[in-house]
Subunit: 154 residues, 2 copies
């Protein structure tokens, strides 16, 4: 590996259809409450009894918490990009709530690679990720537009 | 207000073009580091020196942190829905990074209201939100698909 190179994948190493799988991460009840208190203090994310009578039918993690946990799984090797995971945005869906004690993992696939016309050292890469719980239910999907760089010239 | 009614807006109260504005929230450097350590431990979100040589050109908040802070501003009155802010998903972009010390606020607008064909008590409401810093730069846009209920019949 040349001195300027970082471990992990560069644009040169990616192709459409390539797949990745993350490790696993268990969500504790206290994590759900702590995230909700700071960022999304609504009854269905904070209180069992109050959550029971809502659309969620019981305590559920904030969707943004699910998104943050998914990011952690991707950064921890679920999407091993050399220069890191840098997103300009994308689409997100939450088909199914995350419950206390759920164990999450993420499967990702490269969907499109758009070379930059003006900057030959980079491309916009669309990556679809599915976050699943221990029962194989999809709790989140994202279609992220990532900025990925070519391997530096040595 | 009938006993079964909660303060805030119901579907009956919403119309396309309606606008809302949140309060303000300042992001501290320590908040950026703490969120990054837990959810997005990449150099540009954790270390000034390392961030300088990246695409961010300096320490920047995780996009998911910006999203979580935006949610907090919406829950704290930026989008005063009676039954809470319940999203099935949507689109997000991060046009500009959030820096330590930035003060954020959110402007939202109702874009579309789709009545449910099967459940007359609810509709899917598309809300566009722009999160801005103290200089008026847009740091995040979302187009969220929210589930909004009609006022309960008394």
């Amino acid at each position: 590996m040349p001195p300027s190179e970082t471990p992990g994948l560069y644009l040169d190493d990616l192709q459409v259809g390539q797949r990745f799988e993350s490790g696993a991460l268990q969500v504790q009840r206290d994590d759900i409450l702590r995230f909700a208190r700071e960022f999304d203090p609504q009854p269905f994310h904070m209180d069992d009894a109050a959550a029971r009578d809502t659309l969620f039918g019981g305590l559920a993690a904030s969707g943004w918490h699910t998104a943050a946990l998914t990011m952690r799984l991707l950064v921890d090797g679920g999407l091993p990009l050399a220069m890191g995971i840098v997103g300009a945005g994308g689409e997100v869906t939450w088909p199914c709530p995350v419950r206390p004690g759920d164990t999450l993992r993420v499967r990702s696939e490269v969907m499109e690679i758009h070379a930059s016309a003006s900057r030959p050292d980079r491309a916009r890469v669309s990556v679809r990720s599915q976050t699943m719980n221990q029962n194989g239910e999809v709790v989140q999907t994202t279609l992220a537009k990532l900025l990925v760089l070519r391997r530096p010239q040595s």
